[in-house]
């Protein structure tokens, strides 16, 4: 019987960990000593950073979607089905039609918007957290000829912590380019006392927003939204009126981890911050947005984590002690307008110190959007050298 590595979730983390392992385990896979199985209900893999760029026409659907099978190493098995229960104690995962008993498990089930947490949220406006919604937003921005555009974070945590900031900057550029920026009031609404979680980055962001005449409204925790009156109310007792609302929905974890009793109350998997083991289980790991780790819910974190997990599974399979620990590394771009960007690189112990925004960094981001498919997702540059 081959040793089985089961990967639940074919998003960024799951795909990278499977491909990374397939490279390392080539000979053992060919001999049938090991099998790698990726299980996901969707046959399509979406490059989610495209969601932010589609509304501005910077990326398009055909650049954002690929068949998952086409990304996976040919030696990796792909099963298109939903896992509805994970039994960590008995090393087994179940779908409606079958069960898989594993030797190693990687849970990479991601995060999803949870519109139900804020009354009125789903009908209130627009967001860029699904492919269809990104296109709806593109149409809405195209129709918008002036008025008050409010972009609000309606709950924490959410995928890609920099995205709301980037959206505000892109809105500024977009309407400037169209020659109607003076007709658009842009307001950025955020639940914390600063416009970003990390204080030194928040300072830079605040200055940039002031310079671009983006009004910043802090400590506004959206309580409810009235789509008819076009107003949102906060827990703090304030009301904001809008003509166009673009909201970042709060997120939650996947149903399968909640239904299996392995999630905390937010739906996140308790995960060791260094080994990435699901707490209490040395043969099961969680990576990417699914974890409760104090790092960004972003593909970059999943990429770094995937390299750690792939290395340590390989180590264990071959009789070695684990040789890598995750240090909390995240590297992400911040687009600060159409044609300029900077970059955040940080870990558990070192906060980011972003350099000044440049066109070169923006260009690199555009290149990276294409490189994702051929390098990152293929597991060819694991964790940028972790």
């Amino acid at each position: 019987m081959p040793k089985t590595i089961a990967v639940i979730g074919g998003g960024t983390g799951g795909t990278i960990v499977a491909n990374n392992l397939a490279h390392r385990l080539h000979d053992q896979l060919v001999k049938g000593e090991v099998e790698i199985v990726v299980i996901d209900p969707s046959a399509l893999h979406i490059y989610q950073p495209a969601y932010l760029l589609i509304p501005f026409g910077i990326m398009h659907r055909n650049e954002a979607v690929r068949p998952e099978r086409s990304l996976l190493d040919e030696k990796v098995k792909f099963r298109q089905e939903s896992i509805n229960r994970i039994d960590l104690s008995n090393r087994t995962v179940y779908s409606d039609s079958t069960k898989i008993t594993y030797d190693y498990l990687v849970v990479a089930t991601g995060a999803k918007p949870d519109y139900s947490q804020v009354p009125g949220l789903e009908k209130a406006g627009y967001d860029f957290y699904t492919l269809d919604n990104a296109y709806r937003l593109r149409e809405a921005l195209g129709r918008f000829k002036g008025g008050k555009l409010v972009t609000a974070v309606a709950g924490i945590p959410f995928k890609c912590p920099t995205a709301p900031i980037e959206f505000a900057f892109l809105v500024d550029s977009y309407f400037t380019r169209l020659g109607i920026r003076d007709k658009v009031d842009v307001q950025y609404v955020y639940p914390l006392p600063r416009p970003f979680t990390i204080p030194n980055v928040a300072e830079d962001v605040q200055k940039m927003m002031e310079k671009r005449k983006i009004e910043v409204n802090l400590l506004f925790n959206v309580e409810s939204i009235d789509p008819e009156k076009k107003e949102m109310k906060s827990i703090e007792g304030e009301t904001i009126k809008y003509d166009l609302a673009v909201l970042t929905p709060p997120h939650t974890g996947a149903e399968v981890v909640k239904n299996s009793g392995i999630a905390d109350k937010g739906g996140w998997i308790p995960t060791d911050r260094y080994t990435l083991n699901i707490k209490g289980y040395d043969d099961a790991y969680a990576i990417g947005d699914a974890t409760d780790l104090p790092v960004s819910k972003a593909g970059s974190a999943a990429d770094f984590e995937a390299a750690v997990v792939a290395t340590n599974i390989w180590d264990d399979l071959n009789g070695f002690a684990p040789s890598l620990r995750y240090d909390g590394k995240v590297m992400c771009f911040i687009i600060t307008g159409i044609g300029e960007a900077t970059m955040l690189i940080f870990d558990y112990d070192h906060p980011p110190r972003p350099p000044p925004a440049t066109f070169a960094c923006y260009w690199y981001k555009l290149v990276y959007n294409r490189m994702y498919w051929t390098v990152t997702a293929k597991g060819l540059l694991p964790g940028f050298g972790v």
Partner: protein, 79 residues
């Protein structure tokens, strides 16, 4: 504190910014006017963020008690 005042303890130790603040907000929503929420937080940012939030939201910040490795931060729901 009178004996009638209820103190609800939220253990947010191990949670990082903005986790403890979000836990407090959730607890305030579920509490009654007059209740006291005590947040246990090991994130030093909480003693900076929570008083600012309490002031903006119209609740009373009662203070911080420093313990070994964490803080006890108290807020009274006022409205």
């Amino acid at each position: 504190m009178s004996e009638q005042e209820k103190v609800k303890v939220i253990d947010a130790r191990g949670s990082f910014c903005p986790g403890p603040l979000m836990e407090l907000i959730r607890a305030i929503k579920e509490s009654s006017v007059g209740d006291i929420i005590e947040v246990l937080s090991s994130d030093t940012g909480s003693q900076r963020d929570i008083p600012k939030w309490a002031e903006k939201a119209g609740h009373e910040f009662l203070g911080v008690i420093h313990e070994e490795g964490y803080d006890r931060i108290r807020v009274k729901k006022k409205r």
